[in-house]
Symmetry: C2
């Protein structure tokens, strides 16, 4: 029809990402029309590119006939397919798995079995591999044949007779070399590769350093299982950095628009938990009530000491979280030691400054020293907590990014107050 | 010599990144040997990949004869060359510019003129472009010829007779299509491109969404000026996310090992500035001293109110900083409005909880209400400050990431205390 022609002319000229935005945001009946107007291949590309909440993608599948859904699913890249199926409910998974061709079911099941956040979980199986004795001409023929299905064709992986990964050649080298050379003669034999069980964050870190467009994923016997492409690496980097950032603020940062009610609902549990922790600080101050009654001047410096220690602790936390994500374990105790020493140095300087300020302001060296000593100790303890807690969490397998800045600073309020009033107690006679 | 042969066999088999690590970490005299054993082309690849502090790279150049340095520099990719030269002192820049061939001086000068953090500043000029009437066969011939110099050969950009960018073809399409087709017949005409003055963060954001390996950079008349490759996009993402993260913690987070003294020195100015801001809070509490003397119970809740408001403000800050980096300006007031409403909602809930807790604990509804009302108001103000301040900073051209979490929470201490004691003043007779 005329409408179909016009639609296809306009829609297919759009960039893929813009197509997905339109597809995801139109009404179901309009989507039904799009499903009719596009070929299965074209629809499949949209599904491969859809990065909206996966729940939505599942909804789009459910709007279709099972026949169309199965055609699209069986055409998708294996990593995206596994990702999508992995987020389905058990019953949906069973339904859609059964729509796939037998050999694909096997393959996707294997991908689904890899642990989340490992190389295996983000790799795809659509790569190009050849035997090391193939010539440039025959490799190019293979590339040409597989070009429409492979997720990336710019690297061709080279295997020996036992299917062990022994080299890699780039498409650039292939088109520059003589047709009669064999892969073995010019391949790079030192292949950068990752293990299937490697943590995705480590993989991303290394790709960032080594600047590859894709990395091969192997098992412990060096058999090629899949590849991870740079676009997936970018997603991992984005995910991990958003997580670190969110952790530091104690709030989920995702690009989505949310109503204030939803935002409040999400932030409330954490804030109320911290409120309870803050109550311990309040009851601690209450415990020292007689001290405050005797010298109300002590109240003046509570927020100064807790605030400064909280700031210092947050800095240590940020450093520690970042370092443990890229460092190996030997260095961990060094991180803590460095943070504590840094805390002592900063604490001493802050203490001297505040002692002088208080002496000038209140003409009481004793009070100045109480505030100064407390501040030095509070900062040191905050730095210890800020670096130790995320490291301990990492050791017991909890993501250290969860040890948020607000948590550290609220905890540091408690220790700071305890330190402050304990010191004040000792010097109370000199202060009054 | 035998040593040279052995060295080359081992060294050249290493991955590029590992070569750079070795090159950067050996002693100068050992580096001199490496310089002698490798060809200029091989050395150039190392310099292209060096991502250690640029100061070091400049030092390596200075260790060489001017002749060798000039040979390496004139062989480097233009974006890396411009990056390196752009960080030199004025006199070094003059020295090394003069070592380059004339036409390259012109080109690199142009790159150096683009504003920092724009597409122009990170693009490279080594791309492949062809006229739209070239056939697949002749395009492939051009690709083959340029393959050794071009930074990426997987996209070929297509221009019309007036050198306006009109399309793009991928190497994948080239090897799949018939030799006699012209580029015009199968190129994608809707080219994803960025303007030379676009902010690098926007460029990175869009490449992340659209999943390209490179994007063309054009001027306002759609003439191709360069391309940005995905590895540079990854570096930008890393840089920007580290910056946001560092800002939130009020501390520079870079992977480098630092001695505690250096760390302390870096963090001190900021912490001491905040200490002075904290002194305003202290003197404000001091101003209300008579109030505290009358009811020392007021001191108990200072840290609870400042802490909770600080946590809420940090959350708002994190959301605002992230959103303004990717959103357009119309939405900005909506961000502030949403954060304030979120603050009111959370504030009311927190107020109700704390009022009940205080009533149960201290059997004083009046005190509970003073704490509750203050907390609700303090949280709302903190959310306002947390979202408004980074946005204002962005408006006046200061990077909002500088409005760090510690700054917002210290500022929020001040407003929280002011609110708390003002409310307490009104109800003082009911509290005592």
């Amino acid at each position: 029809t005329l409408g179909e022609k016009a639609f296809r002319a306009v829609f297919l000229n759009l960039l893929r990402f813009d197509q997905t935005v339109i597809y995801a945001n139109v009404q179901p009946d309009e989507r039904e029309v799009i499903n009719r107007f596009l070929t299965i291949e074209e629809l499949c590309k949209i599904f491969d590119a859809l990065e909206v909440e996966e729940m939505e993608t599942i909804r789009f599948l459910k709007e279709m006939t099972p026949r169309l859904a199965s055609a699209i699913l069986s055409d998708m890249y294996m990593d995206n397919l596994a990702d999508l199926l992995g987020r389905m409910s058990r019953s949906d998974l069973a339904t859609y798995l059964n729509l796939l061709p037998k050999e694909q079911i096997q393959e996707v099941r294997e991908l689904l079995n890899y642990h989340e956040r490992t190389a295996g979980a983000i790799m795809t199986t659509e790569y190009i591999s050849v035997n090391q004795n193939e010539t440039v001409a025959s490799v190019m023929e293979i590339v040409r044949k597989r070009a429409s299905q492979a997720e990336i064709i710019y690297y061709v992986y080279v295997e020996d007779e036992t299917e062990v990964l022994v080299g890699v050649v780039t498409l650039r080298e292939l088109i520059m070399n003589d047709d009669s050379l064999t892969a073995k003669q010019f391949m790079k034999t030192n292949v950068f590769k990752v293990l299937v069980e490697d943590d995705q964050e480590i993989v991303a870190q290394r790709v960032k350093e080594y600047n590859f467009l894709a990395v091969p994923v192997v098992n412990t016997t060096d058999h090629l299982l899949g590849i991870i492409t740079v676009d997936d690496i970018i997603d991992v980097m984005d995910e991990e950095s958003t997580e670190d950032y969110s952790g530091l603020a104690g709030v989920k940062v995702d690009g989505d628009e949310q109503s204030p009610w939803i935002s409040a609902l999400h932030r409330m549990p954490w804030l109320l938990t911290l409120l309870l922790l803050g109550m311990s600080t309040a009851s601690l101050i209450n415990h020292f009530d007689s001290l405050v009654s005797q010298a109300s001047i002590l109240a003046v410096f509570i927020s100064l000491i807790t605030g400064t220690a909280g700031n210092a602790g947050t800095q240590s936390l940020a450093i520690a979280v970042r370092k443990i994500s890229v460092q190996n374990y030997h260095k961990i105790w060094k991180i803590i030691r460095n943070e504590v020493i840094t805390g002592i140095i900063i604490g001493v300087f802050a203490a001297i400054s505040i002692t002088i300020i208080v002496e000038l302001w209140k003409h009481s060296l004793a009070l100045g020293m109480v505030v100064g000593i407390s501040m030095a100790a509070a900062i040191t303890v905050a730095n210890l907590a800020g670096s130790l807690i995320p490291i301990l969490m990492d050791k017991i397998g909890v993501d250290p990014a969860v040890a948020s800045g607000p948590f550290i600073s609220t905890l540091s309020d408690l220790t700071s107050v305890l330190i402050y009033f304990s010191v004040a107690q000792i010097f109370i006679n000199s202060i009054m």
